[in-house]
Symmetry: C3
């Protein structure tokens, strides 16, 4: 499995101690039909009653760590410095896959090393990456470990200990690399950006991995193609007629293909993994500038 | 767009200051598959760590502000006085639609002016209505505003400031009217009430806009028709055989058509928008009185 | 309706007072599309602002108390002693079915007497069982009772009073039995265990009522059959190829039939209620031991 070398990280070892905010976020593919998430919260509360747990997402597509990782990479920064972000989309639970503890700008992320952290790593912001040493868990009273529910038996208690300020990342493991897990950032050239649909949201919007910064120059000069369909770049959903397709840079900073008051996913018949191209054609700029 | 004149409001300007309870409720059509709701909570917690956020509903049908507004109008009163209720079902996000701050009996509601607040306004209980002045947001450090996620960039920080007691509704905007957004209350005459199905709940119950008070006189004298089907008025679900259809005044004070241990929606083949009639026929009263 | 005699309970009357942890868990079949759960939290918060409410599950299949009860029996122990667990899967709401308050190892459970508590009762751990006396509710200011939403009007306020330490189980009702509600534990003989699929989880795993302890001796000597399909017992999901079926003792201590990175439910075409057999065949042991 390919990995990013640690030399890409902005700082190999952080020296400042982690200072918990008392908040833990949870991202899983567990859904809410069974009590899996609730039980994780029970474990966290039992160890750290004063900690606040905030759900980030639990209905992520099952077994798809990259999609959960994409959203996590776009969300952690809206929480206070000192937050512990736990992400468990983990088809390899119980095998020898590592569990990583990552520091980024005063936040901690805890996730299996299966690509979930690759979208964040690709942004090159990580301050440290460590693999959890299972033997070090005993120090914190974490002993009973099932083979199939590490969310409850490892992630929840470790997050609780970190959020309660009773341990530091360096107490939990040794420096490690992050697995790509198949994640591919978009490729940007001067007048051409090529990416893919990384997620289809609940509204049927096609979320891509093309970043705002890749669309340099006059934004309105870019023409977007998804599948075989050309769509125009607009400022927001409301700047189109009901039923019309549009592209926009969404609130998470990436290109999105949407349908006004409808589902681009259903209407266009393209979904996750579909190729998306943006081509800079300066002559388009005047026509769309008023959007 | 038709509006309710402010003269219908029970008091045009409230004089008493809003006294926050420290609770915010959230109603959205964002679902829980993506981290939209979680990120709103991150923003709220970052500004007001002591505030408690309670989810009211997030799987409301997308783009249907009237249904979300119906439920909100039936739910806010179960929270403590001083609660801030945020509702974001907002297909017009990023366009010039207003955002309203409404006072009702010591509670605040924050929602786009697209009909979401119409069901509440129709009850005539509002104490004040103001449109958020975007320029006034700067005073509270709310500057970065995306075109597509006002839930995170406007609603969440404004609610946090209000719930933390750092601003009052009158700091945020000027008096305004409320758009109907197509909302129609039921019509009640002496012996005839005509309404519609406003929501189908998860159990397949058909929830109508016919209020308990419209069914005056001997309740058991009313015969209910939905689509072409007549159903009998009962006291509760359990007072029918499995599979049988019934009408009842539900726990939110409106007429509902249900199927005992089943789905009226699936069984009757009628859904949102279907006409519902209740006719007072006194001769029915004795027969149903024991229900 | 069959009941378990109280003599099966580990102690007929608990003498120690209930000492609340300040946590309430909620299990319902209400979903999150409508504000039913949110309104329950509003009622709890209005009475007991310092209490923390944790969602256990809300997307349980509607009208199926046994499945909710199965998960509850496997989850309560992950919360701190002193937690009040509220479970409302209640097709008989408004009829004369009792509401039970049960004590188990310092926890309280509050549920309708329709079989929901049968999976827990079958484990024989209960310390006391009482039926809520509706007339005793007046003492705690619980007066307005709808016929259709006892979750809001009875369960939530009673749980709040208990979690706030303002009343004890013995203030609320008199000793009672627990209805079976059709619940059948698995039957275990020496070399044969016969159970059923009690739940299909979100991943399509088939969860059975066969307990770890029933698979005595060398675990790897057991052959599992679900429907007409034989599957091998493994240690965890990862110890199989993608697409392969396996059986394992899951993290809640029961036998589960799964498909590696897929859905056993969809692949095998068997679901809830399907017969599951485990047969001890010692000659299998060596072959599977390395799993």
């Amino acid at each position: 499995m390919r990995t990013w070398s640690r030399s890409l990280l902005s700082a190999e070892f952080s020296v400042a101690a982690f200072r918990p905010s008392g908040v833990i976020t949870l991202t899983t593919d567990f859904g809410l039909r069974e009590p899996f998430v609730g039980v994780m919260k029970g474990v966290i509360h039992s160890r750290a009653p004063a900690v606040k747990v905030i759900d980030l997402a639990h209905d992520s597509p099952a077994f798809e760590p990259l999609e959960a990782g994409f959203w996590l990479a776009r969300s952690w920064q809206y929480f206070p410095v000192g937050t512990v972000h736990v992400a468990v989309v983990d088809p390899g639970v119980g095998t020898e896959r590592a569990i990583l503890v990552v520091e980024v700008q005063g936040h901690l992320l805890l996730a299996p090393d299966n690509g979930l952290l690759a979208p964040l790593a690709a942004e090159g912001k990580l301050d440290s990456v460590r693999a959890l040493g299972f033997e070090s868990l005993h120090k914190f009273g974490i002993d009973v470990v099932s083979a199939t529910f590490h969310g409850r038996d490892i992630f929840a208690p470790v997050a609780a200990e970190l959020a309660a300020g009773r341990c530091q990342p360096q107490d939990l493991g040794t420096p490690a690399n992050i697995a790509h897990g198949g994640y591919q950032p978009a490729k940007a050239e001067r007048n051409l950006v090529e990416g893919v649909v990384v997620a289809v949201d609940r509204f049927g919007n096609l979320i891509t991995n093309i970043e705002r910064d890749m669309l340099v120059g006059n934004a309105w000069g870019w023409a977007v193609t998804v599948g075989s369909r050309k769509v125009e770049l607009r400022h927001t959903y409301g700047h189109a007629e009901a039923g019309e397709y549009l592209a926009l840079v969404n609130s998470f900073g990436v290109l999105e293909v949407a349908r006004c008051e409808g589902s681009a996913f259903e209407g266009l018949g393209v979904g996750k993994g579909a190729a998306v191209r943006a081509v800079f054609t300066p002559e388009n700029a005047p026509k769309n500038a008023q959007n």
